[in-house]
């Protein structure tokens, strides 16, 4: 995922993975299923990467989110940042994951050990200007 991202100007590379945990808010999770509004999710992730590049002056940023059923220990999201300097790499990576959680149209259904499943409460995206 970083292979194509690094250029000779880059001095730092940072790869973040969000991973399915066995516990969420104290409940034992057995599995997760992600669904998405795919084409819009793709567009929002590209926009967030563009914003992060412009804001922090990094090199390439790649963002991938999986959908479908995931087991504990599997990565749901991966964010790769290449950057001339490390400080900006950390800031950009953090920006991308926080924005992704707030506005990319992806939903998560958790299955618990007791057989019950439910949609995980999330963030209401901010709606700004009229188009």
């Amino acid at each position: 995922m970083l292979g194509g991202a690094l250029t000779p100007a880059d001095g730092a590379a940072l790869l973040f993975w969000g991973v399915v945990r066995e516990q969420n808010d104290g409940r034992a999770v057995s599995q997760l299923e992600y669904s998405a509004y795919g084409p819009m999710a793709q567009r929002e992730m590209l926009r967030i990467a563009d914003e992060a590049r412009a804001r922090f002056g990094t090199g390439a940023i790649h963002v991938v989110h999986r959908v479908g059923r995931l087991e504990i220990g599997e990565a749901s999201v991966a964010i790769a940042v290449a950057s001339p300097h490390r400080g900006e790499a950390y800031e950009a990576s953090r920006y991308v994951i926080e924005q992704l959680k707030q506005r990319v149209p992806v939903w998560k259904r958790e299955g618990y050990l007791d057989g019950h499943a439910e949609w995980v409460p999330g963030f209401a995206p901010a709606v700004e200007a009229a188009r």
Binding site: S35, Y37, M40, H65, R103, W107, W119, A130
Partner: protein, 81 residues
């Protein structure tokens, strides 16, 4: 005019469909679409009266004017990552 309404996650469960084609008078806004859907009753009556929507994949306020063929997605709170 006809717009496509898309439903996801909890809204999909309420609607009982992934999508629905809705006929609206020309000049209708997102708020009118929401009102029309809620008025159908059943699960759709439980749609919030100010839901977050995206029109043609951009988040858009309820005052946004719609055009024939627009895709209006109803976006419950997101939980990616």
């Amino acid at each position: 005019m006809i717009v496509r309404s898309l439903f996801f996650a909890t809204y999909r469960d309420m609607a009982g469909h992934d999508e629905l084609a809705v006929e609206l008078p020309s000049g209708a806004r997102v708020a009118d679409l929401v009102g029309s859907l809620r008025a159908r009753g059943g699960g759709l009556a439980r749609l919030p009266d100010s839901p977050v929507v995206a029109v043609n994949m951009d988040y858009a306020p309820l005052a946004t004017e719609l055009a024939d063929g627009d895709e209006v997605a109803f976006i419950p709170p997101v939980a990616g990552g």
